[in-house]
Amino acid sequence: MTPEELDQIAETERAAQGQFTQRVNVCVAAGCLSCQSQSVKDSLDQEVTRRGTKDHCQVKGVGCMGLCSEGPLVSTSAGILYKKVEAADGPAILDSLESQPVSRLICPTDVPFFQRQKKIVLENSGNIDPDRIEDYISVNGYTALIKALTEMSPREVIDEVTKSGLRGRGGAGYPTGLKWSTVSKSVGTQKYVICNADEGDPGAFMDRSVLESDPHRVLEGMLIAGYAVGATEAYIYVRAEYPLAIKRLRNAIRQAERVGLLGSNICGTRFSFRIDLRLGAGAFVCGEETALIASVEGKRGTPRPRPPYPAMEGLFGQPTLINNVETFANIAPIIRNGGEWYAGIGTEKSKGTKVFALAGRVENTGLVEVPMGISLREMVFEIGGGIPEGRKFKAVQTGGPSGGCLPSECLDMPVDYESLARAGSIMGSGGMIVMDESSCMVDVAKFFMDFCMTESCGKCIPCRVGTYQMHRILTAIGNMTATQQDLKMLEELCDLLKHTSLCGLGQSAPNPVVSTLRSFADEYRAHIEEHRCPAGVCNAEPVGETA
């Protein structure tokens, strides 16, 4: 593959696409697929064939369009977005391409949900066919890789990433450029790149969506990373629970190998790169990098103390670069447009955009990409469309089991790494769950503690025993049998786990408790002193063993 050949593929593809005067895009990402979007696509396909308009009307399966709660979503070349489309609507949609839109299915796109977004990571999502590399190449795909390989030295690539101010999108926010630089300086006979696609936070589906909608974008980011740090082998560690993402990644890797964008001597340079998949097997702790490495090595996913950091001693004892899916998906545009362009977006310390999975008690649930620094209020009430059924906002939970619940006082806070940390939560991987007055904060804290208790790997005692004890106390509070003594013990345990656990799972496990204790202390008090649950969730008589 030479730069000219890549241009050739792009030209051919654009010409082929240009022949179609009409286009209907059907979302075939997991959210819409589970609302039967495949049958919508099939029915459109059949109808186009029946009408004999196959040569000028294209029906294309594309990635996520964002508004998952209104799926299946269909967009047309006339610029109209349709929601809740059924297979029987196929003919009406095709008719609409030449006349008026089908008014009963229209999904308005002039609303904040669409207008307030800024798409960098998701720019191709919903526009290209994730199963065809040609489609990706036609929208400037792999040009960043070619640029890096032919015009830039590895040092220059790293400088560009450093200049962009990109920080790890997995949650901790470690500067990406710095990480790359460390790995590139480490000495080893073989270096590895790992893409962390073990998206374990309940309530987060950003990575899945990126992998399902635009897998080549992630591969391109990994290739550039490999070139920059001097790695030749890479793994994508993806959850086995995401079968569609796995299928599309496998397909994408095969296609990239076929056209010579993966393999030996890419673009006629000395750079060779191989990417392999490793399936996770349902262990939340494997999102932690040392546990992830153990799992890729075929072992139980238990973390080990750091240092040495994986950048020095990682997979098979060699220097290893581990980044999250979304981090890699940001790389190609940074190389294409320059680090300064990226640094111009967002806030002073948190650059660029962030993809959030908005869910819970909010009108518009789905995937949104917004510039860093947007306020929580804008997220919940403008983009999210507010709380349904006229209920009252109570809290927004970010960062999954490692994050916290932010009360209404925090609504005007900007969403960036520092502000969220100051408020007692974390950016996390991007799950954002909105809760209304029907949620009991003690119950929510118990839910997350149950999660951490189940997912604790058992290697270190503070986490293994501490999460159990904390869950026991929270259960007692929920059952109205706890005392002030218990509450004091709970607070002590929060401190203990935070400071003595081995890895991030245990260290951050108390966060949901700490943040709810801070902002919703009166709810805890009501349970303990007045034996009542203000939200009416907890019952003095435990009903079965739910959580």
Binding site: G298, T365, I433, E455, C457, G544, A547
Partner: protein
């Protein structure tokens, strides 16, 4: 380098062992391929039994204890065969606050089993998931690989009735 050890022969004539052998070969008969191989076994046979674990451990030259350790560490692996149908209730945060506990409660009461168990007639297995990533459709339930969104207690009871009375 390790010395050459003859690869063990599969426990029986079942053709599915060929798939397992292919994975073992692709992983170069190395210990690092343990999880990948167990995935293949589970995909082919539905679960991991003792004979499968013994075979995989011998083929990859790892102690049986390590194969067993890995198989029990990860939630995705199961050592027991599943029922004819499986019902997975998502217990992710979005599903949780939108009523997944009530769904689980109803199913537990109807079927008399807890998550991870199978009804005594081997018809239905009940499982919970950490998060399916279908948060836009909360609460979500997977009936035999098919995801259903915005499920209510009545709907899940209805669906299970079809299975148990079939």
């Amino acid at each position: 380098m390790h010395s050459y050890v003859a690869k063990p022969t599969p426990p029986n004539q079942d053709k599915r062992w060929k798939l397992v052998d292919a994975t073992i070969r692709r992983q170069g008969q190395q210990a690092r391929g343990l999880i990948e191989t167990l995935h293949t076994v589970q995909e082919a046979f539905g679960y991991l039994d003792e004979q499968a674990l013994r075979y995989v451990a011998m083929s990859l030259r790892v102690p049986l204890s390590r194969a067993y350790g890995v198989a029990t560490f990860y939630h995705f692996f199961t050592l027991k065969p599943a029922g004819e149908h499986t019902c997975v209730i998502c217990m992710g945060t979005a599903c949780y606050i939108k009523g997944a506990p009530q769904l689980l409660d109803a199913v537990q009461r109807d079927l008399g089993i807890r998550p991870g168990e199978t009804t005594s007639d081997k018809k239905v297995s009940l499982l919970t998931a950490r998060c399916l990533g279908s948060c836009g459709l909360a609460p979500a339930v997977v009936y035999d690989q098919e995801v259903a969104g915005k499920v209510g207690t009545a709907a899940i009871r209805e669906h299970l009735k079809k299975w148990t009375h079939a």
